[in-house]
Amino acid sequence: MKKIEAVIKPFKLEDVKEALVEAGISGMTVSEVKGYGRQQGHTELYRGAEYVVDFLPKIKIDLVVNDDQVDEIIKLITDNAKTGKIGDGKIFVTNVEKAVRIRTGETDSEAV
């Protein structure tokens, strides 16, 4: 099994989720993160002093899937999270050695 970690723009979460659910994915875990990258942060102003906020809000999706689903999922995420503008984010894939469903004790591909 593989873990797909996708860092995306927050307002794309809804689209990506819908697409994943339609594709039959039954679970995912999402967290709010801040991203630093080529996309420049915006300048804020506080009582006449300007300052740069260089960490931008992003959403990270963690998704564990069977090996054969990886490419399809990557395509799905890419298609639905893309705006074509800098800062669209990244997808990283790592290997998962074991998975357990806490409720039942099922393991591996039965667990996800």
């Binding site: 927050p10 307002f11 709010e32 915006h42 300048t43 804020e44 102003l45 809000p57």
Partner: protein, 394 residues
């Protein structure tokens, strides 16, 4: 003796005015709590500037336009002015809340100026003031003590015009016509704001009696405040009962809206009713709010703070109620009330619509899609409202 009544009425007008000014933070907190975190500072700024700009415009031009001249025999003319000034911003407040989260600031500031110095003073002149149309068939005999129509409906009609031009927030309605709820970001602020408004209303209505310095007027003021409060109580209770009956939930935002609806409804004639009628008037006000909020949503009129349901619908209802419950067949009639409602409706809606359309040509009322997504705080104020709290922009 006359001196002391002058003193007492001046003091009382100042007291009432101070209560009304609590409505400035009242509206600000209510709206800041109802919008999403990314638009909170923009809303606060708008509320602050409305108070500043509208009051200043009223000082420089509006008051003279409305009342012909400065002056008052029965109290200090400064106190008389201050009391009237405290009303002005409210009209624009009612409107600005309903278009928040997507309206550009500059054109709205421009409209504020026009509303405070021309449109609203004309309405006041017509109904309460110098009455330029006296003697013509447009002369109005409507009884509207503290402005169910003059303030609340006028603001409501302007808001309706604005929403029609400006459209709904992105994402509020899906392509297939479903409504997506966009929840309030901070409920304690909403509650605080609603109670500051409620308290301000005692000054609003009580002060509108105009004098407290005789036995009769003291009774009239006390009755007015009692009835005002009762209508608010009834509004809260009825809204709660309906929500519970329909959803098994006592939704606090709807309960507070019900209370405010009751307060708007009583505003036209709190001095005319006995102490039980306000229960009915405020209760019906709450029914109207609870029906109107989903109704406006259904016809895709997107009003984030529920201002149309509270102020426009109940402004109309409250003015009608005077005709139903307190008609004396002579100066107060149902027809006279109706005529007033319609006349002001046409004037306020058409004038606002035209002015906003014209402004829209030079300065677009609607902000860019990107600004709307990022939130107006960054664009308009250059800052975040709660920078240290992690939040999820939606």
């Amino acid at each position: 003796m006359h001196d002391l009544t002058y003193v007492i009425d001046t003091f009382f007008a100042l007291f009432a005015m101070v209560l009304i000014i609590f409505m400035v933070p009242g509206f600000a907190m209510l709206e800041a709590g109802l919008v999403r975190t990314k638009n909170v500072s923009a809303v606060l700024m708008m509320n602050t500037m409305i108070y500043a700009v509208a009051s200043m415009g009223f000082l420089l031009f509006g008051y003279t336009l409305a009342f012909g001249a400065w002056g008052s025999d029965s109290m200090s003319l400064y106190a008389a002015f201050l009391f009237q000034m405290a009303f002005v911003g409210k009209v624009v407040n009612i409107m600005s809340g309903g278009i928040s989260e997507r309206a550009e600031i500059l054109p709205m500031a421009l409209f504020t100026v026009i509303m405070a110095t021309v449109l609203y003073p004309v309405v006041v002149n017509w109904v309460w003031g110098a009455d330029m149309l006296a003697g013509t068939f447009l002369d109005l005999s409507m009884y509207d003590l503290a402005g169910s129509t003059v303030i609340h409906s006028t603001g409501g009609w302007a808001l309706l015009a604005a929403i029609l031009i400006i459209g709904s927030r992105k994402g509020k309605y899906t392509k297939d016509g479903k409504i997506k709820a966009i929840p309030a970001s901070n409920i304690p602020l909403v509650t605080l704001g609603a109670f500051l408004l409620w308290i301000g209303w005692f000054g609003f209505n009580g002060g509108s009696v105009g004098s407290i310095a005789s036995k009769e007027s003291a009774d009239a003021v006390a009755l007015t405040i009692l009835n005002t409060n009762t209508a608010g109580l009834a509004g809260a209770i009825v809204a709660g009962l309906i929500m519970y009956a329909r959803y098994r939930k006592l939704d606090i935002t709807m309960i507070l809206n019900g209370a405010l609806g009751g307060l708007v409804a009583i505003t036209a004639g709190p001095d005319l009713y006995n102490i039980y009628e306000p229960i009915l008037i405020g209760g019906i006000g709450a029914v109207l709010v609870v029906l109107a909020v989903p109704f406006f949503d259904k016809i895709q009129i997107d009003d984030p703070v529920g201002a149309l349901s509270v102020h426009l619908v109940n402004g109309i209802w409250g003015t009608l109620a005077v005709g139903l419950f307190a008609a004396d067949g002579d100066s107060i009639t149902l027809l006279g009330q109706l005529k007033g409602i319609v006349a002001i409706a046409i004037f306020a809606f058409v004038a606002s619509y035209v002015v906003l359309k014209l402004i829209n040509l030079i300065l677009p009322l609607r902000t860019s899609e990107e600004n709307e997504y990022d939130g107006l705080d960054l664009e308009v104020c250059g800052l975040e409202s709660y920078p240290e709290f992690v939040n999820s922009k939606t």
